[in-house]
């Protein structure tokens, strides 16, 4: 088998995937916004609980009463995260259907399965980052409002910044992980598309 000369190789870098992903998000900003909102809501709920717990721990450490978050709330967070994942999967599936012809065209001009996979995963990762950051900010504010009346609103200043930062990184990574995880099946489905059938497909 003759190897493909280097100048004929299809080059599709991570930056290309990001550029295309952002372009697609901009074109469908309304639906993407709804998607990000649902991720942000679930993440903010999760963040609000863990940060409230962190505030309570800090409060207890500086001599206040020992408080804790109700267990059932964590179960609700699990539910919120699951329905959010389902939502992302759903939205990405829809996104795949809408872009059948685009995927077909890309494949015709040499895009490999992994390129299509990367394109969708990058798009969902962008949504994950946006939802994670937004969710973290909302979650911290919610935690401050819910715990502040008991612990005092300056509790945020007494909480070690390192811990807050660690939670920020953690929740953002969780958000990316969930978004990417939820998009795996739609992305895989898109990558496996037969270009001929994809081009013939009509909504």
């Amino acid at each position: 088998m003759r190897s493909i000369p280097p100048e004929h190789k299809v080059v599709f870098t991570l930056m290309d995937a990001i550029r295309l992903g952002i372009g697609y998000i901009r074109r469908r900003i309304q639906r993407t916004a709804i998607n990000i909102a649902s991720v942000a809501l679930a993440i903010s709920f999760f963040t609000s609980l863990v940060i409230t717990d962190l505030f309570y721990q800090t409060f207890s450490r500086i001599g206040g009463t020992s408080l804790q978050v109700d267990v059932y709330q964590f179960w609700l967070v699990v539910v919120a995260l699951i329905v959010s994942i389902v939502g992302i999967t759903n939205a990405m599936l829809i996104s795949v259907y809408e872009r059948y012809q685009e995927i077909g065209t890309m494949k015709c001009i040499g895009a490999l399965d992994k390129h299509i996979l990367m394109l969708f995963l990058i798009e969902s990762a962008i949504q994950g980052v946006s939802g994670g950051v937004l969710g973290y900010i909302l979650g911290v504010l919610t935690a401050l409002v819910s715990a502040g009346f008991t612990t005092g609103f300056d509790i945020i200043l007494k909480t070690p910044a390192g811990q807050l930062l660690a939670y920020f990184v953690g929740t953002t990574l969780l958000s990316i992980f969930l978004s990417v995880g939820a998009s795996l099946y739609p992305a895989w489905r898109a990558s496996r598309l037969n270009p001929v059938e994809a081009l013939r497909y009509e909504l």
Partner: protein, 985 residues
Amino acid sequence: MKRYRALYLSLFLLMLLASSMPFSNALNYVSVTGEVMDFDTGEPIEGALVEVYSQRYWRRYSSRWEPFQTIKTDSEGVFSLKIESGENYRIIVSYFDGDQNYVPYGKYVRSDFDESLIVSLMKAASIKIRGRAYFIETSSIPSNTYKVLNATSETILKSGDLSLTYGSQTESFTELVNIQGDTVLVPSDSRILIEVISNVKIGEKTSQRTMILDDFSGGLEPGQYVDVDLRSKVLPESLLSVRNDSENLRGVINEKEEEGFYLAVERHRLSELERLIQEAETLHDIESYESSFTKLREAYILYKDLNGIVHGIVGDAARSTYILVVFITVSSFILGSIMHDSNLLKIMYSLLFDFILLSLLRFLHPGIPLIGTLDFILVSLSSFLFLSTLSLIIPRLMSAGGGGEVSIINMIIPILSIAKRSLRRRWIRFGLTIFSVIMLVGSFISLTSFSTGYGLNVKKASSQGTDNFGVLIRTPNPPPEKAAAPFSGGNGAAGSVPLGTELVNWLAEDIQPILLAPKYSTQPQRQYREEYNPVGRLGNTNLFGVLGILPTVESSLTGFDSLVIEGSYLTDEDSNEILIGRELLSTIDAQLGDAINLRCFDTNLKVKIIGVLDDEAFSQLRDLDGDPIIPQKIIEYERIEMDGPDFVTEGLAYCEPHEVVVINHKTAESLSGIWINRISLTLPESINLLEFSQRLAINRGFRVWASTKDGVFLSQLAGYFEGKGLPVIIPWIIVMLNVVITMLNSYYERSREIMIYSSIGMNPRQISTIFLGEAGVVGLVGGSLGYIVGLAAYKFIYLVTPSLQVEQKVSAAWSLAAIGISLTAVLVGGVVALLNSTNITPSLIRRWRANKAERRTDSFVIELPIEVLEEELVEYISFLEEELNKSSKGFNFTTKMIKKREEDGKWIFEFVYSNTGTSISTVYTKNRLIIEKNDGDHYLTRLECVGDENGAQAAGSLIRKIGLGWSLSRSDRSKTSIIQDAGDL
């Protein structure tokens, strides 16, 4: 002479009768002498008190005995009395000395002849009864009677002719010989029992409780003094009773859990109940009876509430079964219909789903065994048969009608068919949406908890601490029907229920506060109608409130004395003195020191004005709870004149200072219609005010305010609501957003399909119903399945989180709520999607392009296919203006700088359109919307649009959509006018 004999004889007899009268008075007295001696030694008792009671003055009215004569025995123990003959008397002999007491003695005497009595008094031992026989079932204070019984025969002992009875019962020795109410004198060296009879008000009824004190059955030494705490005798019985109740309830909960109920919240509250009982037992063991009783009463209140809840859950669960069966059958039919189009297969699939789901329900729902398997099968079969018949008959009943618009009812079947086909085609997406709805409803059912209860409620009435630390007591708020009595024409008193003087006595005796300040005031009444319900008069001036205070104490607690700006303040002792405001003093035209008539309801009193109050300060003076001290009155809010009596709405308001007089407590007690409205207490520092107020609230059922350095706290027994799991709103929103995305895409994908529907005559409402129908199907199926998943979760919660405190939702209301929460999520999502979609009426806007052919000079010109009649013009212009203004708040696009003007018979709107939402590039156009008359009678609409082609296309779409809205609304109006015309005909 003979004829006068009879007359002389009559005169003689008359004179004889008259002359005998003084002698008859002397003859009516008989002598009663007696000797009082010690029963054991026979020695005379000197100084024994002999009291004679007579019924003579009460004969006409009652059999009440009244004290008549009192003497003491001499050194020989002898007494001698002269009493009228022919009467009944009661002689009571008693002897109390600090060291030597005798059992009091009573004898009935009929004074027909002189009588000589030998009274042998038995040496007594004293039993001091401490505490009261409180009962956990009631907050009322019981009154006790103590009977001394023979320990062998258990019959009541008699001392002379009277039973040996003490306590609150009338005619007991406590009343007759004036000894302390809690002291029982019993014969020494006798084997006796004490029977305690407590009269207690439970609810509206007075019931009697009896117990036997058998600590003295071995007999007591003469002069022996025994202290008995009644609470130590009553509490064990109450403890045992509540302990047994609690055990029984535990048994019921265990039994119900075995039947499949998830009673974690109830079990948690049961642990709380057992903890309270345990604490009560511990406190009882260390003889802290008052605290023990408080804990026990709290436990009892909790038990009553919990017992009601547990039994209520069971009843609700049975009832909810019927609703669930119907919902599940409907869901099964929907699923069956999605699976196949053939009627037979549809029903077969439905039956299969119904069987599977109902079997699951049978396994998971604890209410089904309660109604019985046979009933369950019957209900399931009948609901299935009913729905099968309905699904076969309804499509045949629906018709397109004989022409014109097809009604929405007749569109149901086609709409559901279309929705079904769409769901089947997009089954992965709708499957995922249903999955998220199932998760939502399942978590709502299994992870949220909304419960109500009744118990001690403590809340901060004010966060500002006061200098006056103390406690304020009021009765609970009256039930609404009683509070409303004055306003509905009754004669009842308005405001809170008055406190009784017995409460003041109880507080003084049992609590022993440093200061105790009852506040008396008139209750607004309905029986006085003239001048709008005055409660009395001062001279000729109407009064609407009379306030009675304990002057010295009130000045310490509220600083009432500082209100006096002229004259002097009231004293505790002097009656018939009043304080009035400056304005009232001038109204009645009186001076300080003047005597004036005070009328309060039906009592009149001559009172002296001794001081003048500062009106402003008086109206501002407040009690510990923040309520003004000034009494309340009834006022008229609104009067509607009617043919008969006017319809009057009344309410309560605080009196003005010039409508009130202030008197002291003694004067208040001599007036009618004036009651204790609140009691303030100052307590020793050793007493924790908050704990004390909670104790009063629990034990006595009062509303109690405690003023502490941390603020004012109100303690009362009240119902409460506890909600857990409110964050379920977040998954709800996420699911709703999920539905929005699904529905939006469904719309985008099906735009061509929608055009076809439109072209075959479906109107926008019918098309949108397809989408909502799809959403409804998702909601119903998701709701029913979610409810089952939620029920299943209770079975596994134990495995993952043993202590998860959630209330099981097996009632009919929760079944409906589960369906409701899923339906609202999907329908709200569906509606949001439809509102956000660019347009759902493609047939009316058609595909069009603002191409170059329409371009004239530097602008695109878009003619709108709308003709407006002359008479419609004004309405049309305002419609356009309104819609353009509405669009200024658009999500994807916006209209700005809207200007309207009329020029040469033309109407011109100028506005800027920008689209920033969904496109890659932003469009921006300057527009002129011109409404101009054509050659005929009609006005035409034209849009002139400066910008690029995309912008013209977008702005043109907006204006066409507005035009479409006008056409539709015009169609509705014409329908209305047709109906009106028909009505006129």
